[in-house]
């Protein structure tokens, strides 16, 4: 049962279809209702909005979607997506709903609170109230409001003061096949107290090639001296629409390291937003995007330097094949009095095909005078001298191009410290290069 939606009523209509949430938990309900109002009041973005001018959302709103809670599915074995390092440090969500059967957290220290947001609300609602929706300062952002308006299940982890968690934690979001397109949201809240350390793997997996609309929101708070490593892998269905928000707040001496790997989805949008809350912090917001066919991937990042002494690093690499389209808009804010900022930003694009498209826009707004901000953007093809060099060593055209593409992509994943994730991504890069090069015999 589906009815065509107009652009403005698109998200409010989706919300009205999800009726299963009504009457659950007062704290969440309050947030939900406020957010529902926000969704109604906020206009849906279009190409006239500066932040949306490079991509079209027509594919998204011209379709009709049912709530994920109404999808009938038979679940195949999903254990192949479990990271071995996180065998007992894993939360699994299937079409947005928490699956306790597939989750296990017994490897984590007792002091760590981890679980489904909906369950945590029951146990300790007031604690959650102090943190939930407090870090994702996405003003006037209809998609994060939409996510909050759907708030129910979600991943929660709280690492208290001084606890260093060695075991990496996997948040696995499985999207199943379905007869109709569906919409789903996922929420994640990560709290790292003073001197806490945690490694997270946020993993979005599409099991089939069906269409769905996924809106994940991740909020991360780092207190003083906290260290959070966050790898996001987006391997959604090639027909999926993935519109994501990630917010991180950092206090003094905190260090946030994030690597976002975009492989799937027909249309994906990532909006990492890093906010410095005190002096002397460090963060990394690296990204790797591998596109093919008619995929579109858009990254709009904000690195907000509000206090002095910050080292920030952003290396965003994209490989574009077929008729795919990559967008990068990296905003770097350095507020007044935020001195001694050392910020590095680079967007490198490797175009493998003639019909690929790249839009890149570094955007620096600096209101302090003692800062070093280096930024750059490049768009290029494989270097023919490098190809000749490798061929003269006996590698054929295919091997040479594959090796060079692989080398280009590798730089962004070699810092990921979870071995199986790094191996997985190396395999993904190999698959991508051999697949794209086969399709396109080089002249």
């Amino acid at each position: 049962m589906s009815i065509k939606k107009t652009k403005e009523s698109f998200l409010p209509d989706l919300l009205s279809r999800e009726t299963s949430l009504n009457g659950k938990s007062t704290i969440i309900e309050k947030l939900r209702l406020e957010a529902q109002e926000d969704v109604k009041q906020t206009s849906f973005p279009g190409r006239k909005d500066e932040d949306w001018r490079f991509i079209s959302l027509r594919d998204l709103y011209s379709e009709s979607y049912i709530p994920a809670s109404q999808v009938d599915y038979t679940l195949p074995d999903i254990s192949e997506y479990f990271i071995p390092e996180s065998e007992h440090a894993r939360l699994v969500f299937i079409n947005g709903a928490f699956s306790s059967d597939h989750s296990s957290t017994t490897d984590l220290p007792d002091e760590v609170t981890i679980g489904n947001i909906a369950d945590i609300v029951e146990d300790d609602g007031h604690f959650l109230e102090d943190h939930l929706n407090k870090y994702g300062d996405f003003e006037d952002d209809i998609f994060s409001s939409f996510n909050t308006a759907m708030l129910q299940d979600g991943a929660f982890i709280h690492v208290p003061e001084g606890v260093k968690v060695d075991t990496p934690v996997q948040f696995l979001y499985i999207q199943t096949d379905a007869a109709e397109p569906y919409f789903t949201t996922s929420r994640c809240l990560v709290l790292a107290d003073e001197k806490a350390e945690i490694t997270l793997v946020e993993d979005h997996v599409g099991l089939a090639e069906n269409k769905y609309f996924s809106v994940p929101v991740v909020e991360i708070n780092l207190e003083r001296d906290a260290y959070v490593k966050h790898t996001k892998i987006q391997r959604d269905s090639k027909q999926a629409l993935h519109i994501a928000r990630t917010a991180a707040h950092l206090k003094q001496h905190a260090n946030y390291e994030s690597y976002t790997i975009t492989l799937g989805a027909k249309l994906s949008r990532n909006e990492p937003r890093i906010t410095q809350r005190e002096e002397e912090v460090e963060f990394t917001v690296d990204g790797l995007v591998l596109l093919d066919g008619d995929q579109v991937s858009d990254t709009h990042s904000v690195m907000d330097h509000r206090f002095s002494h910050c080292e920030s690093h952003q290396l965003h690499k994209c490989v574009i094949n077929g008729k795919s389209h990559s967008v990068f808009n990296g905003k770097i804010f350095v507020r007044k009095d935020a001195q001694k900022i050392d910020s590095f930003q680079e967007n490198r694009n490797l175009l493998l095909s003639r019909k690929g498209l790249v839009n890149t826009k570094p955007q620096l707004e600096i209101f302090a005078d003692d800062v070093v901000c280096t930024h750059g953007a490049t768009i290029g093809q494989l270097d023919e001298d490098e190809v000749f060099y490798l061929k003269s060593r006996g590698l054929n055209e295919h091997q040479a191009r594959e090796l060079l593409t692989y080398a280009f992509a590798l730089e962004t994943i070699e810092n990921i410290t979870v071995d199986s994730v790094q191996e997985l991504l190396v395999d993904e890069v190999h698959n991508y290069t051999s697949r794209t090069l086969e399709k396109q015999p080089v002249s």
């Binding site: 270097d383 023919e384 001298d385 490098e386 000749f388 060099y389 490798l390 061929k391 003269s392 060593r393 006996g394 590698l395 054929n396 055209e397 091997q399 040479a400 090796l403 060079l404 692989y406 080398a407 280009f408 590798l410 730089e411």
Partner: protein, 259 residues
């Protein structure tokens, strides 16, 4: 082994004529040196033999073991046993020396009907070859030429030659940019690798490397032609007298006849 016959070459892009009738024959077990000033075409000759696509052969032929290789891609020529040590070795960040060499070695081995080596066997083989150019094992795990000094890059070229064991190697200005110690190491490596069933062709601007590697034949290239050939004494004469005394020869030998 290799025979170049009346080779004419121009730049693919703009038609500039670079080689204007080069004749050269290199036999098994020989070391040749091609000398000449900048712009004489000697580096182009080396690249054309390797199959660089920026150049177009407009006349003549290159024969390897009696068969023309003009239609072959650079990798197919490498499979036959041709090797080019680059004047400016390319940096390939992200690909380690070891990765490239194992893939290259096994590809060539397969084409030449030799046994491919598994990673452990290859490790033994490659460590053995490192000594030839006095390189440390760490070199293997570094990205190809990325951040290497000029001398390290040149040594790495000779190391690759040592691993791939080619039939004929063109070494393009391998001596340039080397200090005397590095030059000795490189020369020693080349002497070690030169044998009865392979051949080496040094392409060089200076006579300096020939103090350490004694060539069987020396050729002088001027304006796209080989204008004079001789033995090692010719190199010494060039060092003393420069190239000017040969420029007249360049204008008379219309299609590069010599010998």
């Amino acid at each position: 082994m290799l025979e170049i016959k009346n080779l004419h070459v121009e730049v693919e892009e703009d038609g500039t004529k670079i080689l204007k009738g080069v004749n050269l024959k290199i036999n098994d077990g020989e070391i040749h040196a091609i000398m000449g000033p900048n712009g004489s075409g000697k580096s182009t000759l080396a690249k054309v033999v390797a199959g660089h696509e920026a150049y177009k052969v407009t006349g003549g032929d290159i024969l390897f073991e009696g068969e023309s290789i003009l239609e072959l891609d650079p990798d197919e020529r490498a499979h036959l046993g041709l090797f080019l040590a680059f004047q400016y070795p390319v940096e390939v960040p992200g690909v380690t020396n070891k990765t490239l060499l194992r893939e290259a070695y096994n590809t060539i081995a397969k084409e030449r009907g030799r046994e491919e080596l598994d990673p452990l066997e290859f490790e033994d083989y490659i460590n053995d070859r490192l000594d030839i150019v006095e390189m440390k094992t760490e070199f293997l795990d570094r990205s190809i030429n990325a951040g290497f000094s000029g001398g390290e890059k040149k040594r790495n070229e000779i190391f690759q030659m040592a691993v791939l064991d080619p039939r004929i190697s063109f070494l393009d200005e391998t001596d340039s940019g080397l200090d005397i110690d590095a030059l000795k190491v490189v020369a020693k490596g080349i002497n070690h690798l030169a044998g009865e069933d392979n051949a080496v062709c040094l392409v060089t601007h200076y006579q300096r490397i020939l103090d350490y590697i004694v060539p069987d034949k020396v050729h002088v290239m001027l304006d796209g032609k080989i204008v004079k050939s001789g033995d090692k004494d010719l190199a010494v004469k060039l060092e003393d007298k420069g190239y000017d005394w040969l420029t007249d020869l360049a204008s008379v030998s219309a299609n590069g006849e010599q010998q």
